[in-house]
């Protein structure tokens, strides 16, 4: 009787370590919140006049981690002459008129330092266009 009890206990003792795990595993997580990033940097500005036409060329650089829209804000109160722009982005060329207020002129995809050249043409006999403000927003 005594041997039986001790024998059972010994078996139980031997079984417990043998069942011990050969490995241990833990799962954790890494979390990340990527915010929207939109930056606009201005580069070279050149102005030339030829054949009665003034051309102001401005190069902007867009950096964004999402699709974007480039807009221009023209602040003119009374003598808003026609201001036309030729926009060169990669091999795409578009044209746009800049009336008073904000005008969306270009859409683009995410990327780093994407060059956008804006060529404004105006009548050289008129005063140069007032300051323009370029804006980049999420598409």
């Amino acid at each position: 009787m005594r041997s039986l009890f001790i024998g059972i206990f010994a078996v139980a003792l031997a079984a417990a370590p043998a069942a011990a795990q050969q490995f241990a595993r833990v799962t954790v997580s890494a979390q990340l919140a990527i915010p929207q990033v939109l930056t606009l940097r201005s580069g070279a500005v050149t102005e030339t006049t030829a054949n009665g036409t003034r051309t102001r060329s401005t190069t902007l650089y867009v950096t964004a981690n999402r699709n974007w829209v480039l807009s221009v804000f023209r602040n003119c109160q009374s003598t808003c002459g026609r201001l036309q722009a030729r926009i060169v982005n990669s091999d795409r060329v578009t044209t746009a008129d800049f009336p008073a207020g904000t005008t969306s002129i270009l859409q683009g995809r995410s990327g780093s330092s994407i060059p956008v050249t804006i060529e404004l043409t105006s009548d050289a006999s008129l005063p140069p266009p007032s300051e323009l403000e370029y804006l980049i927003t999420a598409a």
Binding site: F5, I6, P17, T27, V28, A30
Partner: protein, 174 residues
């Protein structure tokens, strides 16, 4: 351990048997029999990680330009009665992504965009779904292993959103 076993064995012996057990006090009234107790100690491994969730540093334009952003990762604490090896793997090939704006979050951001190292200076290793050995050691009580993360970024691919990746740390004994 052995002492604890004997005490417990004595408690298990029925009363009549216990009454005859004092052979040393009354020699001749009982018989003795040699016995042995065997114990097999297998590998015992313990692994703890803290924190369970690592919030990776929010990327700035500078991080995008550099292509990466570093964040201290969790610390693994290992206790083992045998030689051990700690390994790490991603549970999925890509991050889970939740859009937070009109722009869809990147659905195919690869697990390899998270790199790990044992030092903040590297060298860093890309995360894979196959376990990669991190470090090995001998028997120990509470060895701490600090993990460092580096997240890779691409202006054209990594759109805004909330991302997460499940990581599996495993300690094995050969």
């Amino acid at each position: 351990m052995k002492c604890a076993c004997l005490v417990l064995a004595a408690l298990l012996i029925p009363a009549p048997v216990r009454a005859q057990s004092n052979c040393r006090a009354n020699p001749g009234t009982c018989s003795t029999r040699p016995m042995s107790i065997q114990i097999t100690i297998g590998p015992a491994l313990q692994l703890a990680l803290s924190p369970g969730i690592t919030s990776l540093a929010t990327p700035t334009p500078a991080h995008y330009n550099a292509g990466f952003c570093a964040t201290p990762g969790p610390t693994a604490t290992v206790s083992a009665n045998a030689p051990w090896t700690l390994s790490i793997s991603a549970s999925t090939a890509t991050w889970s992504a939740i859009s937070t704006s009109s722009e869809p979050a990147r659905a195919d951001k690869p697990a390899a965009d998270l790199e790990w190292a044992l030092s903040s200076a590297g060298p860093f290793t890309s995360m894979t779904t196959s376990p990669a050995n991190v470090i090995s050691g001998a028997t120990t009580v509470g060895t701490n292993v600090s993990i460092f993360y580096r997240t890779l970024y691409s202006w054209t691919n990594d759109t805004p959103g909330n991302y997460s990746l499940q990581l599996v740390f495993t300690i094995t004994s050969p």
